[in-house]
Structure formats: C-alpha cells, structure tokens
C-alpha cells in the first residue's frame, strides 16, 4: 500500500503522575495531509514535540522518516521541516537573510541556497522584495514565507503547529493552496489545528482528547460514523462530554468556528 513515513506504536509520555500521551498508535503515509485535532491540553503539542525529536517518549516506539525518535532525534531533525503558530522568521532580518540563515542551519550549500531563494521568491511572486525586512511585511505574507522556508531543505515531512492562527480567511485559503501543492509534490504534512473547517481539508483527521486518540479517519467517514454534517460536529460529539467540566476546555471550544468563504475551497 502507501509508504509509511511516520509510525507511532503505543506512545506514552508521562510527566510525573500526569499522562500527556496515553498509548497512541497511528501511521501517517507519504504525501498525506494529516490533521491533528484536539482542545488545548489534549496532548497535541506533547506528541508533536516527540515526533519532531524535541522530547523523547516515556515508552513506545516512534519512527519518523525512518529514524527512531528515542535514539536518533538528531537524524529526525535533519529530515523534517517545522513551522509554528508563533511566527518563526526573524523580523529584523531581510527575506534573503532569513533564507540564508535557515539554509545554512540545514547545511545547504551557498549556490543551492541562492537557486532556491530565487525559485521561492518567484513562486510567491515576491521578486524584488528579497531585501525587505520581514517586520515590514503583512502577517499573511510572512506566514507563507515561513512555510516556504520550512520547505527549503526539501524535507520529507513538515510539521505545522497551528499554522494559520490569527490570519484572515483569504490568506488562510492561499496558505492551504501552498499546503496542497507541497502534498502533491510528495511532502507529508502533519498539521495541528483547532479550526474545524480546516480539518475538512485534511486527508485524514486524528482527534485527541485527554491524551488519547478518540477518532482517526477521513473527514467523510468520520461524519458518516458519527452522523454529523461537519468535522466540527464530530469533534463536539466526541470531545465535548468531558470538556464541559473544565472552563479551559470551553474556551478552547469557542475557537471551533468556521470562517465564511472557506467552504468552497477545493483541492487544487
């Protein structure tokens, strides 16, 4: 069948008595857009940190891009891209300097960096802006740039941690077009989000609640199973019962909104 690029088997992460990840088991295939959903505190971030080689699992087997997360986190880091919700380029550096910096950190050669810089700028139609400071650019543009920079060293997998937080609907749509394009090129995208409408655009969606995986399937089949019209409804049906006890979870729930104008976004 499909190529497995991330394989997680009985992953447990414990902080003292608190179990952040409780026996997670799943696989992610090459070129897939894998949505990772959950309220704040559901264990998304913990899992993401383990998958990206930042923290090691308490027990269980995690293999990312062919490397074991417990034993070879450095190899994993070399082979993945990462973009976080918080903006990740330096505001007081120009576009070109940012690209040079990250290219250098990932061990690209000078002429390689130069070639990819011009490719990247052409694709985003930013030619002529290379020497602008990032701080002078609008947020949406920065986000797209950050994503492109995360792809600079041609990683097999890119982790996107709530990448569209605080971005307007139009830019979000453009951003997802970039994601589809990368996916079509064979890059695997692991996306955490709490925008439920974004979950609809994923190939498969994994819903976490209180450290456990409570559902994992394509958006269509999830809706069928739970007799729901949207992934948001599915999420509310699965994750809400316990969430109502905790005001923090309710707050997270309030962001489960869909934005008008996004519904007619189709895969490119």
């Amino acid at each position: 069948m499909q190529n497995v690029v991330i394989s997680v088997n009985n992953l447990v992460k414990r902080f003292g008595n608190f179990i952040a990840n409780d026996h997670l088991t799943f696989e992610v295939y090459q070129g897939e857009i894998f949505g990772f959903l959950g309220a704040n505190g559901a264990g998304k971030t913990t899992a993401l940190r383990i998958l990206s080689g930042l923290s090691s699992p308490t027990s269980g087997e995690v293999v990312v891009a062919g490397f074991n997360a417990a034993r070879e986190p450095e190899q994993i880091k070399r082979n993945i891209g990462y973009m976080s919700q918080k903006f990740s380029l330096y505001e007081d550096l120009t576009i070109r300097e940012n690209i040079m910096l990250y290219g250098g950190i990932y061990g690209l050669k000078k002429d390689q960096i130069r070639k990819r810089t011009s490719e990247l700028l052409r694709k985003l139609r930013f030619e002529g802006y290379a020497d602008r400071l990032i701080g002078d650019l609008p947020l949406g543009v920065r986000q797209k740039l950050a994503f492109s920079v995360a792809l600079l060293h041609e990683p097999k997998i890119v982790f996107l941690d709530e990448p569209t937080g605080g971005v307007d609907p139009v830019t979000r749509r453009q951003f997802w077009e970039l994601i589809y394009e990368a996916s079509a090129g064979g890059v695997t995208l692991f996306v955490t989000t709490h925008y439920m409408d974004e979950a609809e655009y994923c190939d498969r969606v994994c819903i976490m609640n209180e450290g456990k995986i409570v559902a994992l399937d394509t958006p269509a089949r999830l809706k069928e199973t739970y007799h729901a019209h949207s992934v948001e409804e599915v999420f509310v049906k699965i994750a809400r019962p316990t969430a109502t006890h905790n005001p923090l979870h309710q707050m997270a729930g309030s962001s489960l909104t869909s934005l008008p104008g996004d519904s007619h976004l189709k895969r490119v």
């Binding site: 990740s88 007081d92 990250y102 250098g104 061990g107």
Partner: protein, 369 residues
Amino acid sequence: MKRFLGFVKKEFIHIFRDFRTLIILFGIPVVQILLFGFVVSTEIKDAGIAFLDLSKDEISRKVIHKTVSSGFFSYSGELTSFREVDRIMKEGKAKAVVIFEPQFGEKFFREKSAAVSIIADGSEPNTATLITHYLTAIIQNYNQELTGSPAEEIVPVKAEVSMFYNPELKSHFMFVPGVITLILILICALMTSVTITREKEFGTMEVLLVSPLKPIQIILGKVTPYFLLSFINVILILLLSWLVFGLPVKGSVALLLAESMLYILMALSLGILISTVSKTMQQAIFISLVGLLLPTILLSGFIFPIENMHPVYHWVSSILPPRYFITIIKNIMIKGTGLGFVWKETLILAGMTLLFMLFSIRNFKTRLE
C-alpha cells in the same frame, strides 16, 4: 561549524540593526565613564569642618592649621563644648568635627600617644568616609613630619587601604573599576538573557531547537557576539580612562584582560541562567535589574564601602561575584599587584562561573523536556 558561524552572523545583525542595543553596548559605557569622571565627583572640596579643642596647646593648634590649610576643608569655626557638636552638624555647617583630648600636646610628647576623635556626619556615608580618611591622612602626615616615624600609635584612627595607593586623592581611580564591573554585568547578563528570551517569545527558539543545530550551539551562538563586544568594551573603557583621565593600568594589562574574560564568562552564564528561568523579556529584564544590577551598584563596594555596611549586607555582598571582580581590578589597576595578591578572589570567581554554567546547562535541558 559553518552552521554555527551563520548563526553567529545573524546574532551580529540583530545587534547592529537595533539602535537601542547599540546604545546600551557602546553609548552607556562612554557616558558613564565621562559622567563619573567629570560630574559625579567623589572627592571632597570645601567640606565644612569644625574643631573642639579641649587642650589648646601648640600641637593641637598646628594640627588645626594644617587641616584647614590643606584645601579640602573649609573652616566652620571652633566649638567650646560637646553640646555644640550636634548643633553645628544639624545646621549643616560642618560635615565633621575634630576633637582634641585635654592635654593633647603633653600626652603627645610624654606618652607618645594622643587621641584625636573625629565625628563625621553619617547621613552622607560616602562623604563621611572620605572625610575621615582625608583627616586621618593629614594628621598622620603631620605626625611623620614631627617625629619622623610612622605615627599610628599617636592617632589611632584606621585609614582605608585604597587611600594609601591614591596619594593624590583623585576620585577617578575609584570609579573606573566600578564602571567596568557594572557595564559587564549589564551587557553580559542583561543583554544575553533578553536576547535568548526574545527568541522564546517570538517562537523562533522552537524552530531553532527543531533544527539540526544542537542546543549548545544555539547558546554559544547567542553569547559569542556578546563575549566579543564586552571584551572590546573593557578595552574601550580602559583606553578612555587612560586618555581622558590619565589613569594608567599600574599592574599587568594581560592579567587584567584575562581576569575580565573570566568575569565576562561568569556574567554570560548568569545571563543564560536567567533566560532559562524567565518566560518573557520583561521577566528577564526585571530579574537582571533587581537581582544583579542593583546589588552590584549598592553592595559590591562600587559606591558604598563594604566595611561600613551592616553585617547582613556584608554577608549578602560576599555572595555577589562583582564584589570580587572589583577587588581584583582595583588591585591590578591602582595598586599594581599581581596574581599573587588576587588569586583568592580569582578562585572564588572561577568557582562561581563553573557553578552558574552547570546550573544553566541543567536548567536548559530540563526546560527542553
């Protein structure tokens, strides 16, 4: 290595593109040196001084004459009783009163021991200390003139050691070591802790940690520019104090620079330590200012002499690294002593550096978990 250098280069860009950072790095040291040198004078001129002469003999008159004509004091009168001492000081007419015991001259010749009591206005501790030192020096000087021998037994007032090595009573000598100590803490600890927490706050730290850069490379990359710039700063301050105030380094310049490097390392590891415990830049600034800068100014012996402190502050002062560094550079710069005289302080400083480094590495790792 290439990765690392690219990262260091980026850090330099941060520094040179930020006007405020540049001001702190190079503006503050220059301004402080000039300010302390020209404006904030810690020498005394025309401090009011009164006398209570209970002996009124030839010797006591001569001491009074010598004191008044020294040029440091202005004569605010002669008192007739102890009660007036309190009054004249409260009125602010005198900063100090010199009291000669009865039969001063007789005792001086017969018992070779005569007492002069100096009462200084302690509400300005700094001036008071200086006045007592000046007076002591003047009286001792006179004793030597009279008897041709060191006169400690005649005037039993202790003089501060630094006075001996500052015979011209110039105040610049005292503040240059203090400014170096302060500036280095400011640049190294404050600025590195802020620049590291800035990466955390902006979310770039996460991206760096997920990159193939090792945590140790990230930290070293962040602090290397500050290490170099601090070192340049030390040289700048030394040059400035030499060219503007004519203060040379009496001891070995190489030793002074080596000790500065040790102190810079100490301050940098403190900065890293602060960054590991603070989540925001404001927090890092607050900890650096309140936890480091203030104690350095107040308790390290920079402005207020440690000997005059309450025992509690004395104890607090002894756990402050800047205190040892001030002692070291005062020794090398002003007294011209070698490592033989400051090895103890150097050892303490080195031990502290090691301790802070271990703590910050441990903290950085647990934060990663």
